[in-house]
């Protein structure tokens, strides 16, 4: 499946060279990276975070400031920023992950709020509400990633690497420990999973992925503003996880795709945009609470099983 998707992605720009469409699919790639990390935290570790846009924003602003203001080369800067964000996540995560449920939701929301306010108010460093512009493009030597087609290959390779990483992680012992944690924390602890450490590790990993996505976002658009990293972005990210299916790696890709495309599709409704957006979310959650992918799969399996049973009954009758 990974190979299939990769081939499809390789060929995609050959058929579709409208820069606008490619821009949208590139945004999907960036969102997918964040959503993958967040899905590990929500779906596998069973925790809730309403503050991942903060890490996304820290990554973006970190890259912007180190390369734009201080002139560091982008690649090492990206790595450095990801490490720094990882440390921040560790520092925040150690006390915060002792909380559970609604308290954790509020704490992460509060963290996002603090980061957003600082980005907005510290205008000498971040440019304040008017944003930060003039971020250099990523480049290999003279080959600069400055148009949509080149960015397409760059971003999607990052996304595919993250996807593979997550697919392998959840099949490893660590991943199975995490799923146990999501089902029942006490039981997992009794079975010898170090739940506290596992939660912190996965939190840091997801923060680093969000930071990477943020750096890519900054270099891809060369302009960022605090609006992209508010609490609504955080809820959008969680919505992508929930729609795609919690604990489904492929679902993350799907959820990110659907929610990113949605505003494009319903642009025609202009005035009713919020209405349609909320409506789709509500309908999916109401009727397919496991997420679209697993929900539809389950529905088909159930239908098939019923059909078979009916056939058998008919055979028995005759």
């Amino acid at each position: 499946m990974v190979v299939m998707l990769s081939t499809l992605l390789m060929l995609f720009p050959l058929f579709e060279d409208n820069p606008y469409t490619l821009g949208v699919t590139n945004l999907i790639a960036i969102n997918t990276i964040v959503v993958l990390g967040l899905n590990l935290f929500i779906g596998y570790a069973g925790q809730i975070s309403l503050g991942h846009a903060a890490f996304f924003g820290l990554g973006a602003y970190g890259s912007a400031i180190t390369t734009g203001t201080y002139g560091l080369p982008p690649w090492p800067a990206m790595l450095l920023v990801a490490m720094a964000v990882g440390c921040i996540a560790l520092f925040v995560g150690i006390p915060v992950l002792r909380l559970s449920g609604h308290y954790l939701a509020m704490a992460t929301l509060g963290f996002n709020f603090v980061v957003h306010s600082v980005l907005l108010e510290w205008d000498t460093l971040t440019g304040g509400p008017s944003g930060f512009s003039g971020i250099p493009y990523l480049a290999f030597g003279d080959f600069s990633f400055d148009d949509e087609v080149r960015l397409h290959y760059l971003l999607w390779s990052f996304t595919m690497i993250c996807l593979l990483l997550c697919l392998n992680l959840v099949r490893s012992g660590v991943g199975r420990g995490l799923s146990a944690l999501a089902e029942d924390e006490t039981a997992a602890a009794a079975l010898g999973v170090n739940t506290r450490l596992a939660k912190i590790k996965i939190f840091v990993l997801s923060a680093v992925m969000a930071s990477l996505a943020g750096s890519l976002f900054a270099h891809c658009y060369s302009f960022i503003s605090p609006d992209s990293f508010g609490i609504f972005t955080s809820t959008d990210m969680v919505i992508m996880v929930v729609i795609g299916g919690m604990g489904s790696i492929w679902g993350s890709l799907f959820g990110a795709g659907l929610i990113t495309l949605l505003p494009e599709w319903i642009g025609v409704f202009e005035n009713y945009k919020d209405f349609v957006h909320g409506g789709i979310l509500v309908l999916v959650l109401m009727f397919l609470p496991q997420g679209l992918i697993s929900g539809l799969k389950d529905m088909v399996t159930v239908r098939l099983a019923l059909h078979k049973q009916k056939g058998k009954q008919k055979d028995a009758a005759t």
Partner: protein
């Protein structure tokens, strides 16, 4: 010096009372359903909007306008519960919470369609000439906020401790399974809790929008502060919600006055995070 302090304390208590009302709404729903009801945020906006329509659209006097607006939000809240949440097929709390986020987006969309995106001004309950108390000048609206918050809390206490419906709601809050076993109808309890949450949010909206301004997303920040207040006090605890609201309001106005008004929200949320580090279940949590 003392006057400044008094001024900050007054404005802190006023905001705190609003946060407390919203926080109580969050707590009521949490106690019966175990979820964070993010639609609460829009009940606040809706309260202000309905008040605006009652006063300037229908030309009603202040008191019936206020009652009608609060009752209207309660009805909308019941509709949200009955047709938005009841049909959900999931017991997963995360799914239900995001269902409320979705419903909140829809409700905000409707508010935007009906009342538009413009900022509006709502007249205060009585004159807007400030009164001087010990050298601090206070808006009459602030006094109304404090007074009506106290009235609302007393009514709520009376309801929970003196009526049979209130008793059943407390039973559900303390043990939902046992409550179901003795035959307390879960549906009606959930509906009532939404109505109460709507009325509280609506009242907060009616009271606060003359001080702030009124537009379609005025409730978002207020509502989140209310959630923060509820968490600060200990989620689900009514005294905790009031206490948390007042503390959050005071923290904000004092840090705006003495530190920096740009970072007042940052100070409030950092204190919240620190409190949660020391007391993971809030100040008055079990």
């Amino acid at each position: 010096m003392f006057q400044d302090l008094l001024q900050y304390v007054f404005s802190g208590l006023t905001n705190g009372a609003i946060y407390a009302l919203i926080a109580l709404g969050f707590c009521v729903v949490n106690n019966t359903m175990g979820i964070v009801n993010f639609v609460q945020v829009d009940f606040v906006t809706l309260g202000g909007m309905l008040m605006f329509s009652c006063l300037l659209g229908a030309g009603l006097p202040m008191v019936p306008g206020l009652l009608l607006a609060v009752a209207g939000v309660a009805v909308v809240a019941m509709v949200v519960e009955r047709f938005g949440l009841r049909p959900a097929r999931s017991n997963n709390h995360l799914v239900l919470i995001f269902l409320t986020v979705g419903l909140s987006i829809i409700l905000r969309g409707i508010i935007k369609l009906v009342w538009g995106k413009n900022r509006m001004a709502l007249p205060p309950l009585t004159t807007d000439h400030p009164i001087t108390i010990f050298g601090a000048s206070v808006l009459p609206q602030a006094l109304w906020i404090l007074l009506l918050t106290i009235v609302a809390i007393s009514l709520l206490t009376w309801f929970f401790y003196k009526t049979s419906l209130g008793l059943s709601m407390r039973a559900v809050a303390s043990n939902p399974k046992a409550a179901a076993v003795v035959g307390i109808p879960a549906g009606r309890i959930r509906l009532t809790s939404y109505a109460i949450a709507g009325a509280l949010g609506g009242l907060a909206g009616v009271l606060v929008t003359p001080i702030t301004t009124l537009n379609y997303d005025v409730g978002v920040l207020l509502g989140l502060k209310g959630f923060a207040a509820a968490i600060l006090g200990g989620f689900g605890s009514f005294p905790g919600a009031v206490f948390g609201g007042l503390i959050l309001g005071l923290l904000e106005s004092l840090s705006a006055g003495y530190l920096s008004s740009a970072y007042k929200d940052v100070v409030a949320f950092v204190v919240l995070l620190l409190v949660l580090c020391v007391r993971p279940k809030g100040l008055l949590g079990k």
